[in-house]
Symmetry: C2
Subunit: 506 residues, 2 copies
């Protein structure tokens, strides 16, 4: 079917608006990158005003009456069927966000944005002082907002589904509950066995690793995994992140701790994994909102794949450890590859999520997931959150924070209003292992390739089955197409048991 | 008189539009800064598209029919008289630009923008190959555009006035011609006397100054002259510049040449001088287009004041040379303060404007000014430009380029369409010396203050008489108010004769 004139016009206007919104978004990403890489402190207020203006313009463009009309025209079954696949996916994606946003009361939404901006800075003080009482009134209001949003967005089964959908389109509590329950049982059992061995890392303490030299190694590693520095750059920040200014400008940051070599190395590979994803999206998606990762969970699968499955493998370091020895000959003179490999894979229950190892990490996430659901249904009150947190820490990890600063207050997410986000991190692990098994069937010698310093086989598989699609496909579609199966926990558990079974003899 | 409701509404709408345009401009400045400080190469095309979109939006806001109506309403004598001074100056400034822009044919202007973008990249190749013929067709078209613009913008006396006005509002050829003629006579005489002494710098060649250490010194110097690093930052670029992202975010860049210590030192103080100006503008002007320097010439007066009058004075280095010795103890072990002071003030006719000393600098400008005028009136053809350039070099500086790469092709300005800009550099020198004499009357012990490492007296005077006004006043108003006299060449000539008379015994 040939498009009618009005449909053609709707396509043209939609694309032009998305192009212009994308240009604003590009400026917003740069402002955000700049904010976090050393923008002068005193300029923050005026910069925030500029960010506010540009964000409002994008929001206005994406929620205008006109936008609604173009989307309605293009969503007509006959018209939709005659659109090219990129336009179809664009209409589907833009329409879902349009409806989400139109369902919010603008005044209420502004109130929420102001609230979380304030809450984030209150959180910093509260965390530092380990004083939950300070944050409590903010969190109470934020949780009420989440309830309101969930009602506005709607859900079939559980209100938490409406929040999950924001980060992992299509995922539901009905899927997650059994998955996480199974994961919890199996992981705690494995953890008990590992802790029972009493084995500890022999990594030497107290050595100093020059930051400039760490940067050299990080650049080497980024290049080795296939990151293109001509469409990226590596900067230093307090909190490392990856950000795409545009399709050909995909930046990563890292943090050098001179007393802790491993921090920057694995932080860099992690952000590098995110960046490989963004550098691999099909150029056909430029100037559409599909030119991003499919979801937080799929994104996290790529960073965790490179950081953990590749970056903490023995094969990878058989090739790269000699480079590390060359850069730090005295500091590592007495450290064998085996000691290094065990050190970067040490398992130990710990209080802080972002420092957790592969085995315990998901337990930190499950804890937050269970608390978020309970807050949303009203089964848990914000006032009782610290006690509930500590109780779950004891149950899942066998340790309890000494104070709320290293407990319930450790993450910014809740203060930022990001309920429903945490599961993405655990999903990242599960997806990564499921992708690994699928990739292994096609590239069975991937470890040998790593030993030779090659990543083309691995990266090629990811590019073909994951990266290039951007947001063209839903997360669940990507997983099924790439692996032949829906999301499941078994590949991840097999991976954990094989790897840590060997490392700890359990 | 109380504002009528429609005037009140016009003020409100004008201010809101300027605020929003300013926020776009802030993003554009950051994109520009980023472009020049290491943005990934491959992202340039998509970044240029974003810059194009945001620039067009600003242009559209500033030239809309509505804008014209608000300005007309507010320019009514009765209404205008009842506005506060900031709003009056805003209306005056925005209106002038509105009229300038509305007089351009949009299609023609777009053609010009595309032409100069192309010409700038052709220029790079032409300069490198010393091949004027490559650039000639572009320059011919650019000169024709300048003639068209001058006619569109209008002028009372000389077409060049219309171009001058863009950079130095209110200045005319009738003022500049006698000023530059006088300057030329006096400067060439002084130069002949200096060259006649045969004295050369004793600065040692072939020493290496570590870039990281140069950066330390540059940061020290920036702080010493009063630059606030909490509302700024220092980065490294090929071509140093200063840029204000917002009123509290005023950045400078510099370039470290390890074989040439002086390059970064004086480049940094120069850009620091520009930055002091921007950091001193009254916060009352935030969110208006008046929150910038008054003109290119006044801006350049501040950078040159700090670079040359302060930065190349003996008093300044009596305080700071010990710091330099501390950072480079071996490299400077045998270099006395006197040798250093003479080295940073060496006078020598040279081919390249940006490397010229204080005495010869204005001659490079006068040469360009005379050529630009002749091109605009048609007295000179682009084809004859290289010969005319070389002839004037012989006349003014007594030397002739070996090829056009170090002659007529050395600057990007003409390829960028910036005709009328060059005089600003010379004006900067003249203004600076005129400000010096006025400041000296109030702060007679400024050199003693410098010897103690203090700049409060000097900077305080500048803040009060120049910086705080931003674009509230025209350049000529600033000069008259601050010095009691209109622009004149005598203070500059007195400064040159006193300083170089002492240094060279002439």
């Amino acid at each position: 079917m040939v498009l009618t004139q009005s449909a053609e016009e709707a396509v043209r206007q939609l694309k032009e608006t998305l192009r212009i919104a994308g240009h604003h978004q590009q400026a917003l990403y740069l402002l955000s990158w700049d904010n976090r890489t050393g923008a002068p402190k005193k300029g923050v207020q005026l910069r925030a005003e500029a960010i506010g203006t540009l964000s409002e313009e994008v929001f206005r463009m994406m929620t205008s009456e006109q936008m609604g009309e173009w989307l309605d025209t293009l969503a007509e079954p006959d018209v939709f069927a005659s659109l090219d696949p990129v336009t179809q996916a664009t209409v589907r994606y833009v329409r879902r966000n349009y409806e989400r946003n139109r369902r919010l009361d603008p005044a209420q939404h502004r109130e929420f944005v102001t609230l979380v901006a304030e809450a984030e800075s209150v959180w910093e003080g509260a965390k530092h002082a380990a004083d939950f009482a300070r944050l409590r009134p903010y969190l109470e209001r934020i949780v009420e907002f989440q309830k309101t949003f969930a009602q506005a967005w709607g859900y079939a089964d559980h209100p938490y589904d409406a929040l999950l959908d924001k980060y992992e389109p299509g995922l539901t509590v009905a899927q997650l509950d059994p998955l996480f329950e199974h994961l919890k049982t199996e992981t705690t059992a494995l953890l008990r066995a590992i802790v029972g061995t009493g084995r500890r890392s022999e990594w030497p303490q107290g050595r100093r690793f020059d930051a400039a030299k760490q940067r050299e190694v990080c650049l080497h590693l980024l290049k080795s995994i296939g990151y293109d520095l001509e469409m990226g750059r590596l900067d230093e920040t307090e909190h490392p992140f990856q950000i795409s200014i545009n399709r050909y400008d995909v930046r990563v940051t890292t943090r050098y701790v001179e007393e802790d070599l491993l921090s920057a190395l694995f932080g860099t590979i992690h952000e590098g994994g995110h960046a490989l994803y963004e550098q691999g999206i099909s150029p056909d998606l430029i100037n559409t909102p599909l030119c991003e990762g499919a979801s937080m969970g799929i994104h996290e699968s790529q960073s965790r794949f490179w950081e953990n499955i590749i970056g903490r493998s023995r094969a990878f370091w058989e090739h790269h450890y000699p480079v590390l020895l060359q850069v730090f000959p005295t500091q590592l003179a007495d450290v064998s590859l085996d000691v290094f490999h065990r050190a970067i894979n040490e398992v130990q229950p710990s209080l802080i999520r972002i420092e957790a190892d592969e085995v315990t990490y998901n337990l930190h996430i499950i804890l937050r997931y269970e608390l978020e659901k309970a807050l949303l249904t009203g089964d848990l009150k914000v006032a009782d959150l610290p006690a509930a947190w500590n109780e779950k820490m004891r149950e899942l990890l066998g340790i309890v924070p000494r104070h709320d600063g290293e407990g319930v207050l450790q993450d910014v997410h809740w203060s930022g209003g990001d309920f429903g986000y945490f599961p993405s991190y655990a999903l990242g692990n599960l997806y990564a292992a499921q992708f690994l098994e699928a990739m292994e069937r096609v590239v069975p010698d991937w470890e040998d390739q790593l030993r030779r310093g090659q990543v083309d086989g691995i990266l090629g598989w990811q590019r073909e089955h994951i990266h290039r699609y951007g947001r063209m496909l839903e997360p669940a579609e990507i997983v099924v197409r790439a692996t032949g199966r829906p999301l499941e926990a078994e590949p991840w558990l097999r991976y954990l048991k094989r790897k840590y079974g060997a490392l700890y003899g359990v």
